[in-house]
């Protein structure tokens, strides 16, 4: 049984590094190619697993080259696959990304594939009941809402990496214990331009147990209905920030399950996300728990 289970997006990414952006109807040579698993939820689960907290993905994948790669990638990083249903004759979610090294631009073409949405009866409720936390990213929304309700009935915490304001997301928000949205999400869903006002309004409406607004390289803040407390991101020589947000969420839920209090968990998650940015790739670059603790110590956080 895994301590963390997740429902959401799992994507096969092909990244090609080029010296320029290709003109239409031309061919250009790539300098490097990376194939990796992606998707906010799936990468968060990989992160938790690499930090020593057992995790499992609940979802459906096609029985195609993309799905098979994602299955192997989960196995590589120790993420449980017992609750993944691979379906024949469907195409999995995949993307192709052009990384233009001269401009540092990142151009993505994605394809959700043909794989049907996860159905309620495809979710093994025992897996959720026996977990400590259910992690969601807003994808597979109908299944996510159903699973979140079942999780809460059984005292299992629900966390949400709220990035996109998808239709129907307001049905999920009342069921979320750890609401960790991006700044863009907060401003958009509350239709405001001031982030503090928007955050206060969102908190007042949904009263999550933990509420943290992420602001990318600027760090972010958490709010408890009375006061705002900022946290800063760590300064590192960043090479690849792709997936840093997903990794932050994975590290946050891992820190919670390990018993850290909220402040420690935020600094822990920030450190993991910063270290991830010092190497290429969203998953292989996730540091170990011990390396993260050493990094925190070097940066003056000796309470870990």
């Amino acid at each position: 049984m895994s301590k963390i289970v997740g429902i959401g997006s799992s994507v096969h990414d092909t990244l090609m590094v080029t010296r320029e952006f290709p003109a239409e109807d031309t061919k250009i040579q790539a300098q490097e190619t990376f194939i990796q698993g992606g998707g906010p939820c799936a990468t968060a689960l990989v992160t938790a697993s690499k930090l020593g907290v057992t995790s499992s993905y609940i979802g459906t994948l096609g029985n195609d080259i993309y799905g098979s790669y994602m299955m192997d990638d989960f196995k590589r990083y120790g993420v449980g696959i017992d609750n993944i249903i691979q379906k024949d004759d469907y195409v999995s979610f995949h993307s192709f990304v052009i990384l233009n090294s001269s401009s540092s631009s990142r151009t993505c073409i994605w394809n959700k594939g043909t794989i049907p949405e996860l159905q309620h009866d495809e979710i093994n409720l025992n897996t959720i009941k026996n977990a400590e936390l259910l992690h969601l990213d807003g994808h597979q929304l109908d299944a996510a809402i159903y699973a979140a309700g079942k999780a809460r009935e059984n005292g299992v915490k629900v966390s949400l990496d709220a990035g996109g304001v998808y239709p129907g997301i307001e049905k999920l928000l009342p069921l979320v214990d750890f609401l960790i949205p991006s700044e863009e999400f907060v401003l958009k869903i509350m239709d405001k331009t001031n982030i503090k006002e928007a955050a206060a309004a969102l908190y007042a409406k949904y009263k999550p147990e933990v509420f943290i607004v992420t602001q990318g390289s600027r760090g972010g803040f958490f709010y408890n209905g009375r006061e705002y407390e900022r946290y800063r991101s760590f300064t590192v020589d960043a090479i690849d920030t792709n997936g840093a947000g997903d990794v932050f969420h994975g590290a946050f839920i891992a820190g919670y399950v390990k018993g850290m209090d909220i402040r420690k968990t935020i600094h822990f998650a920030s450190a993991v996300a910063a270290l991830k940015c010092t190497q290429i790739g969203a998953r292989n670059s996730v540091p170990s728990y011990d390396n993260t603790i050493q990094f925190l110590g070097r940066n003056g956080f000796n309470e870990f």
Binding site: G149, E153, K171, P174, K205, Y206, K207
Partner: protein, 275 residues
């Protein structure tokens, strides 16, 4: 065991009785209500007025009610009573309610339908059943109560909102009656014939037992008691000897008095041994 509003009302529909729905305000009222339901093997709805969810009381009360329900051997539904805004409903979901009432009955029919439909949409995927209200059930302090539920409007309301239960205005009011009300039993029967959802009678406190039983025969499947829970508790508090200082010992009699009241009503509603 903790069940939802649909599951508990199904028992009433199949057994032709009404589920007692008692408002709880503190630990002691919860203990009295649960004790009565367990002793008489009755399903029970424990509900909290939305005001309690506007403060920290909701956090503590929801924890107490859910713990009591989960340990209980009888079916218990934890219900939000008179949610009036989307935000109050969201807090009801957050606190773990297994039934939600949205009361938009003071609004014009179309606005009431739109508001109730919006709440059905929000609660739909999480499977939390909804109680709506049509025909405003006022207070006993109101000068006149002539806003009885219209049968045709009830049909339209149910069709367009996807509610599981419908509170109707048929002569009751919230509060303590100056004189016993006279329920429009025929109206209950006509609405019951016209719609397929469970009908709810608010303002059950002070309604004579024979009228409650007639209302159940006509189709009422949930009866709310709020005011009389308060009186059962407070009357006993005021009558308990001030010589008892330890609060847990002092509260013994008020708990028992709530329990006695709840047992009386469970019997009147025909809910004994229906768990």
């Amino acid at each position: 065991m903790l069940v939802n509003l649909r599951e508990i009302l199904k028992l009433a529909e199949e057994g032709n009785f009404a589920i007692p729905a008692f408002n709880a305000y503190n630990l002691e009222t919860v203990m009295g209500i649960i004790g009565a339901a367990e002793d008489l093997k009755s399903p029970v709805i424990i509900q909290c007025y939305s005001r309690l969810f506007n403060s920290d009381i909701g956090y503590y009360m929801s924890s107490i009610i859910k713990a009591a329900a989960k340990r209980s051997r009888v079916p218990v539904c934890f219900h939000l009573d008179h949610g009036q805004t989307e935000t109050e409903v969201i807090w009801g979901i957050r606190y773990g309610c297994t039934g939600i009432m949205i009361d938009a009955s003071t609004l014009p029919l179309d606005d009431n339908i739109n508001m109730t439909r919006r709440i059905s949409y929000i609660c739909g995927n999480s499977g939390i059943p909804i109680e709506g209200e049509l025909g405003h059930i006022g207070s006993t302090k109101d000068e006149a109560m002539d806003d009885f539920t219209d049968v045709e409007e009830a049909k339209q309301f149910v069709k367009e909102t996807n509610v599981t239960a419908l509170a109707i205005s048929v002569g009751t009011a919230h509060g303590r009656y100056k004189k016993a009300p006279s329920l429009d039993i025929q109206r209950i029967a006509k609405i019951n014939e016209a719609v397929e959802v469970s009908l709810v009678l608010h303002g059950g406190s002070g309604v004579p037992d024979d009228q409650l039983q007639e209302a159940i025969r006509a189709g009422i499947r949930k009866v709310n008691f709020g005011t009389d829970v308060c009186y059962a508790f407070l009357d006993s508090v005021f009558n308990t000897s001030r010589d008892i200082v330890a609060i847990d010992l002092f509260m013994k009699e008020p708990i028992d008095n709530v329990k006695r009241f709840a047992m009386e009503k469970i019997k009147v509603l025909g809910a004994v041994n229906k768990a």
